[in-house]
Symmetry: C2
Subunit: 353 residues, 2 copies
């Protein structure tokens, strides 16, 4: 398995943010994830440091045998903080995986949106990211990766339960499907809480852009299924295939309503955001997400014509601290980051003129 060059990766946009796929103006991306554990090894909750080191060696070796997947292994135990932050920002590893202190890593194939975390909560967390609303496709893709790995690394499975996992919420299929939705107008018109109440009643989980605990920066909401036991993969996909379009429809209806009832308010919000991003000389991450969200809405409603949506999508990630530091190749103080971030945004938006 080749070494992966994260510095080079940092200069490339995320394929899962290229705005391809159905409903990509609202459903930014789809993620399918499987939780798997190697048969005959202690689960992470009981595993010693030595057990984990063994799992890492085993898993990374086995995965490297699967040449077709073109996965590159990145060990994380000794990795620089900037690299870990960078991988979190690209949604290739979780925050928890970045912050752990035991032997662990991630195998990635960024072009195909695949990442396999080793020694996260489970031995393996296999994930596939796709641009747009593509549940079936993401699910098939993640099972292809899982099939391939299962051939070289047998998983812990019980016929009456399904796949066993470190946390009971994942037992069964071990499958979690999520979509990342951009819902700026539902947020603007205070309709978002209503949506969340319904989702929570249906046992879905809603999070912000960067996983649990993050508030919904930039009006991005990640919606995931919660139940993996007693539901087949087909049921899970079918249920979300029905549910998500309803939210998409609601956001679209609210956009039409806003445009017809208060076009000036929408235009003002969108263009001010564009004006600030095109001119600021220092801007923090939170304010950037807020304005990028408005610009994204402007592009998707046809108010802003000169900026491609893929560029806006990419700026959401490229302006995060890890990416900025990776691109500058050094640690940056918060004030330096704010200046570098403002310069990057200004340059990118100026290129659209």
């Amino acid at each position: 398995m080749d070494e992966v060059n994260l510095d080079e990766l940092a200069t490339k946009p995320n394929t899962w943010l290229d705005a391809s796929g159905p409903e990509a103006d609202i459903v930014v991306s789809t993620r399918a994830r499987l939780a798997r554990n190697a048969a005959g090894h202690r689960f992470s909750t009981k595993a010693t440091h030595k057990d984990k080191a063994e799992i890492e060696t085993l898993a990374s070796q086995k995965i490297s045998e699967l040449q077709d997947l073109n996965l590159h292994y990145v060990p994380l135990k000794e990795a620089p903080a900037t690299d870990k932050l960078f991988l979190v920002e690209r949604h290739l590893i979780s925050k928890e995986h970045a912050n752990a202190d035991w032997p662990r890593g991630v195998a990635i194939a960024p072009e195909s949106g695949i990442s396999v975390m080793v020694n996260e909560e489970d031995h393996l967390r296999i994930q596939v990211l796709r641009s747009g609303f593509r549940l079936g496709e993401a699910e098939e893709a993640v099972y292809r990766v899982e099939d391939a790995i299962a051939k070289v690394l047998p998983f812990c499975f019980r016929p009456q339960f399904g796949y066993l996992t470190a946390c009971p919420t994942n037992v069964g299929t071990g499958l979690r499907l999520s979509v990342l939705l951009h819902l700026p107008v539902l947020a603007m018109l205070n309709q978002i809480d209503q949506v969340f109440r319904v989702l929570s009643r249906l046992s879905y989980i809603v999070r912000g852009l960067y996983g649990e605990g993050t508030r919904a920066s930039g009006d991005f909401y990640q919606i995931s299924n919660h139940v993996t036991l007693g539901k087949s993969e087909q049921q899970t996909v079918a249920e979300m295939e029905k549910l998500i379009p309803q939210i998409v429809k609601f956001e679209r209806e609210c956009r039409v309503k806003l445009i017809s009832e208060n076009r000036t308010r929408l235009e003002d919000r969108v263009w001010r955001a564009f004006g600030i991003l095109s001119n600021a000389r220092a801007i923090n991450s939170e304010e950037t997400l807020e304005h990028l969200s408005a610009v994204r809405l402007g592009v998707n409603t046809g108010l802003i014509k000169r900026v491609p949506i893929g560029l806006v999508n990419d700026l959401f990630i490229a302006t995060q601290p890890g990416h900025l530091q990776k691109l500058q190749n050094r640690m940056l103080s918060p004030a330096e980051r704010d200046a570098v971030r403002a310069d990057l945004i200004r340059r990118k938006l100026a290129e659209c003129n």
Copy 2:
């Protein structure tokens, strides 16, 4: 005396805002004003409605005889609210004069910055406005107007007191000199209160852009002498000629300090303001003044090169409600004004590209 066309006047910039004259980046304009009362007529405090009507007829007739001054008389008793607001915004009449309900008016020669209010607090308030720091010139000009009027309308004068006025604070010379200063960096660095304490100890009055009671919108401060009794005109001018340059110097020093210590903060403030003004689709008067102040600072510190300072100066006045309504030729709701204002600013700034 010709009728003056206010609609036509509304399309013209203010000569006293053309950024000519010494120190015009900080001393926006200089004003000299004389309070005078016609001998043998009751002062406004004692005058009946009929007395005031007589004064108006007398004064407007006498002034109209002075063809050299090219003054145009605007009666205000029946004038539309928009006209009065417009004249206040151009600093040609006071707010109090606009809001009074007795016979009154103003004779104006806008090109030469002259206005003579009839039946304000005194029978006559003769005023000359000049761009930049030109105390001596403004004072000479106002006395030339006063001399001319005195020849046809004798003033109330007592050798031991000087000119008598309705309010004792104006007795003596009846002269008030004021300068309008733009002090954005003293405000930004919280140094402005210190300046005001000194000024108040020296019996100067500090006001905002639109006279007494207005807070300093857009970081504009009008500084006037307070004492007219026991001080000659020469003393008054000499004292201000010494004092104002010290404030100008302090603002300049703070600008140098800000640029050397926190250039990014200054640039960010200036360019964000420019970005918002160039892109907003609705903006209220207060926010406009705030951002115009930052843009003005940007132009005067060389950060913004494409925008002429005269245009910025003019926008401070042209974006006021009276001007917007005069230009649209109708009353506007606050929401309409905010949209019309944003359009005007955007168009004017786009012309600078």
